[in-house]
């Protein structure tokens, strides 16, 4: 965006402190515009009253992200990509996490197709209070036959609400796919130097986003993007080519770096979301594990460095899990707190017989332990000790988790050990060396829990209630 202080945004607001947005003042609202947690449309008078029309329009222009935002799909499953304002996540945060698309192809048997689509849309991994899931299906035209392609696209649309990427360089094939899926707003892949006129015409006719593909030719890529945008096709995605190995991969990384830097620096003609195609790793590796590994490695690089949407092939868990986690890693808002408040939390409905567990106040640690306990129906007291937001193992090594800290944590929380029938504290397995000290410091019995909280339910079965 073109402004970076609340004061600059404030000038365009009504200045009445009416509070309709839920903020106490227009200045407070302005600061949320700058950190992008609220939008200009959230100021009700600004939107509704005609006297503010000019200011509203100006503000919207000034607040528009440097990299354009492109929406693929419709309704609840629509996915936005792009929309970034910074080159490094610590400068603000990255917006619109990289969309992960997995392929199907039009020479698949119908049963296999449906099974694969279901696997893609059903994959989920629980992580700090939510599920990590995949996003899209990319349909490849292998047959180059419009009818086959249309039939495959149709079947995919019947099977899933996931948005689609329609992949072919043949305009007739793309048209056939669009005819059965246009209302789902799929992404077209792709316009290249030979077919761009026909593909541009399809994007216009069906009003869908479109990818421009110019492998290692940034002049051509920019030329196509500019041409499309100037002709009213503004929902453009850039594919500068993903060369999976050797010098080609180094070049590919640098193409991504150059495009995004130019876009953030204000070159509007190239300021579009970027697509990576880690799928190409499968053209370089024969065996499945090597190909999946390399594809995941390439996907990781472009999740970290500016890929906004990616197409992959492997749907093995050992490929999907790291892909989902590295995507979450990069798109987690660095402004969110690292810690939870130190306290004794009740998990489920604990009683006097329930265990008292110790962990740290590092948010990731706390939520991991919390979800392991609650999803397995363990009722207990879970104590978050103030370790300055450091995890158990590192906090024991660094002296942030000590017997004195545990004592202080329980005292500060006002937790009365006397209400427990067992008078036992369970410390994490990775803090085992603190056992004696904690016994001395608190006078309570101390049991050593498992090294990983995922094993707490099993540990409970074996060890709880404690032997007198």
């Amino acid at each position: 965006m073109k402004i970076n202080s609340p004061l600059e945004a404030y000038k365009f607001l009504p200045g009445t402190n009416c509070g309709e947005c839920g903020e106490t003042s227009c200045m407070a609202f302005a600061s949320h515009l700058i950190d992008r947690s609220l939008k200009a449309t959230d100021c009700i008078p600004l939107v509704n009253e005609s006297k503010y029309k000019k200011k509203y329009d100006e503000l919207v222009t000034l607040l528009a992200p440097e990299i354009r935002e492109v929406v693929i799909g419709v309704g609840d499953n629509a996915i936005s990509i792009g929309g970034d304002d910074v080159l490094h996540r610590h400068k603000l945060t990255f917006f619109n996490k990289t969309a992960l698309a997995y392929d199907v192809w039009d020479t698949m048997e119908e049963a296999d197709l449906v099974e694969r689509v279901n696997k893609i849309q059903d994959f989920k991994k629980f992580y700090v209070g939510d599920y990590l899931t995949l996003d899209m299906i990319a349909v490849r035209s292998v047959s180059n036959d419009p009818e086959k392609f249309a039939a495959t696209v149709k079947k995919v649309v019947e099977t899933t609400e996931f948005p689609l990427v329609l992949c072919s360089f043949e305009p007739a094939v793309l048209r056939a796919g669009l005819e059965v899926s246009a209302e789902k707003r799929p992404l077209l892949y792709a316009a290249n130097k030979d077919n761009w006129q026909e593909v541009a015409a399809l994007a216009q006719e069906f009003n869908v986003p479109v990818t421009v593909f110019a492998p290692n030719d940034l002049d051509l890529l920019k030329s196509m993007a500019k041409t499309f945008a100037d002709n009213g096709i503004e929902d453009v995605v850039l594919d500068p080519g993903t060369f999976p190995t050797g010098k080609g991969l180094k070049t590919t990384l640098n193409n991504f770096l150059k495009i995004r830097r130019a876009g953030i620096n204000g070159d509007r003609d190239i300021a579009f979301p970027i697509m990576a195609v880690p799928f190409t790793a499968w053209m370089a590796h024969d065996d499945e594990v090597s190909a999946s590994y390399w594809e995941t490695v390439v996907a990781s690089i472009f999740t970290i460095k500016y890929g906004d949407i990616m197409i992959m092939h492997s749907i093995e868990p050992y490929a999907l899990m790291p892909q989902l986690h590295i995507r979450d890693t990069m798109y987690t808002d660095p402004r969110k707190p690292v810690t939870v408040d130190p306290a004794v939390y009740e998990i489920g409905s604990p009683t006097a017989d329930s265990p008292l567990l110790i962990t740290t106040n590092f948010a990731l640690t706390y939520y991991t332990v919390e979800s392991d306990l609650s999803s397995n129906g363990v009722d207990c007291y879970l104590t978050a000790i103030d370790t300055d937001g450091i995890g158990v193992e590192a906090a024991v090594a660094g002296g942030q988790l000590t017997a004195a800290k545990i004592k202080k944590g329980l005292d500060d929380a006002g937790f009365d050990m006397e209400k427990l029938t067992h008078k036992v504290i369970v410390i994490p397995g990775l803090a085992a060396r603190l056992q004696g000290d904690v016994e001395d410091e608190t006078g309570a019995g101390v049991m050593i829990g498992p090294a990983d909280s995922g094993r707490l339910p099993g540990w409970m079965e074996q060890n709880w209630p404690p032997q007198k």
Binding site: K124, G246, L253, A284, V297, H325, M330
Partner: protein, 438 residues
């Protein structure tokens, strides 16, 4: 006129036609396909012929178009409109707007990262076969702004006693787990380790409380067993480590090892002195806190007189899914600050990438949560967890990786050296990816 020729003859004819001089050429009559060979058409042959016929018809249509015949309407009528232009020709975009892509280099990155050399050859009074130089960057890693002067290096972990390890890691070391020297040898010989880290964990008073003097013997054994540069790590016990590292530094005199580590929660002056007295480098370890890193580096330089060319930083590695976001941004901020002139942060970095094995995803047989999709075989999950953790930090500017699993080491070396630019590979025609059979 009846014109009978073979398909290949027709393509040859058309290939040779000079489009400029087509005036007056007319093609009339039916083209008869002369297919030789008995037994009818097999599907592959039919496909090939169909392809060739389609190519010919396109050539012929082009000729007709040049001659002014409305070919497209003809096709539209006969083929149900499929290949027809989607909108009327008038609204088509006539030509591409010219554009030249250009982007500037980062002028703010004006300060190079300090170079630190580990290991000493006989020329410098040591017995290593080669040395390893870290740092020297003038840009973020692999960026076009400036060539990276040195590749990334991997130092593989060796422990002075058997420790608990993930199953898929342990499988590789079962035969050497009781012998640090043999373990080190195996890592260099079989797993292509650039360096070895010997962790003297048995010295921890809460483990075996091995005396520093005895632990130093293990260091000597490892220096004998391998000729790559080494890193010496303590047990992490802040009371014991200074003494252990002093002894180790003494027996390793002349070999220019990296002592791991100095930190704010132990007597870093003793560790620093051990390094400067015996000509070693020191690892400056802090926990995910850029200001603490500045403070410790400043103390090492100003208070302990450690030369700039003898400091490597370990700003802490958290595993993928367990705080890697903090570790990544912390490292990236440190590197950017260094490049932009913060003299307290212009040092190469090291990552305890092995920490990835703390993530349950890398070692647990299955998810502890029943809501999760199947996690699949763990022997494939573990190495990729270590690879992605390392690769992420490589992109943040990390120079050296402490690692465990041979597959992780191999893949991480391949990817970082690919990005560094030293790996050649056959070029792949990626324009064919859509139709690839996989």
């Amino acid at each position: 006129m009846s014109n009978k020729m073979k398909l290949s003859g027709l393509t040859d004819l058309l290939k040779d036609l000079d489009v400029e001089s087509l005036e007056g050429v007319s093609i009339e009559g039916d083209i008869e396909l002369d297919i030789s060979g008995g037994g009818g058409l097999n599907p592959a042959m039919a496909y090939a012929l169909g392809h060739e016929a389609a190519q010919i018809s396109m050539h012929v249509a082009n000729i007709a178009r040049m001659l002014g015949y409305p070919v497209d309407q003809l096709f539209a009528a006969s083929m149900g409109g499929l290949p027809q232009a989607p909108v009327a020709g008038a609204s088509r975009i006539p030509e591409l707007l010219p554009a030249k892509f250009d982007v500037s280099k980062m002028s703010e990155w004006a300060t190079p990262i300090q170079e630190v050399t580990l290991g000493a050859t006989s020329a410098d009074g040591g017995s290593r076969k080669n040395t390893v130089t870290l740092g020297g960057e003038n840009a973020l890693p692999y960026y076009f702004d400036a060539e990276m002067p040195h590749r990334n290096y991997v130092t593989m972990d060796v422990f002075d006693m058997p420790i608990s390890m993930a199953k898929s890691v342990k499988e590789n070391y079962g035969d050497v787990i009781n012998d640090p020297a043999e373990w080190a040898k195996k890592a260099v010989r079989d797993f292509n380790a650039d360096m070895i880290t010997i962790h003297l964990i048995s010295t921890d008073p809460l483990i075996n409380d091995t005396p520093a003097r005895e632990a130093a013997k293990v260091v000597e054994d490892v220096l004998q067993a391998v000729d790559v540069p080494i890193v010496i790590g303590g047990s992490g016990n802040p009371q014991k480590d200074p003494e252990v590292l002093e002894r180790a530094a003494e027996v390793a005199e002349g070999e220019r090892v990296l002592l791991a580590s100095a930190s704010l929660n132990l007597d870093y002056e003793r560790v620093a002195k051990a390094a400067t007295d015996y000509g070693h480098a020191v690892l400056s370890w802090t926990q995910l806190e850029i200001n603490a890193q500045k403070e410790l580096n400043r103390k090492l330089m100003k208070q302990c007189n450690v030369p700039r060319d003898s400091i490597v930083m370990d700003p802490t590695t958290a595993a993928l899914g367990y705080g890697l976001d903090y570790a990544y941004s912390n490292m990236e901020r440190i590197r950017l600050a260094g490049l932009m002139g913060d003299e307290e942060l212009t040092f190469p970095m090291s990552s305890g990438t092995t920490n990835a094995w703390g993530a349950r995803e890398s070692w647990m047989k299955e998810s502890p949560l029943k809501q999760d999709s199947d996690w699949g075989p763990r022997e494939y999950r573990g190495p990729i967890w270590e690879i992605v953790t390392g690769l992420t930090l490589a992109l943040a500017g990390n120079d050296m990786f402490m690692m465990m699993h041979p597959t992780s080491v191999q893949v991480l070396k391949e990817i970082t050296q690919t990005l560094y630019g030293s790996i050649e590979a056959e070029e792949i025609d990626i324009t064919k990816w859509i139709g690839a059979e996989v």
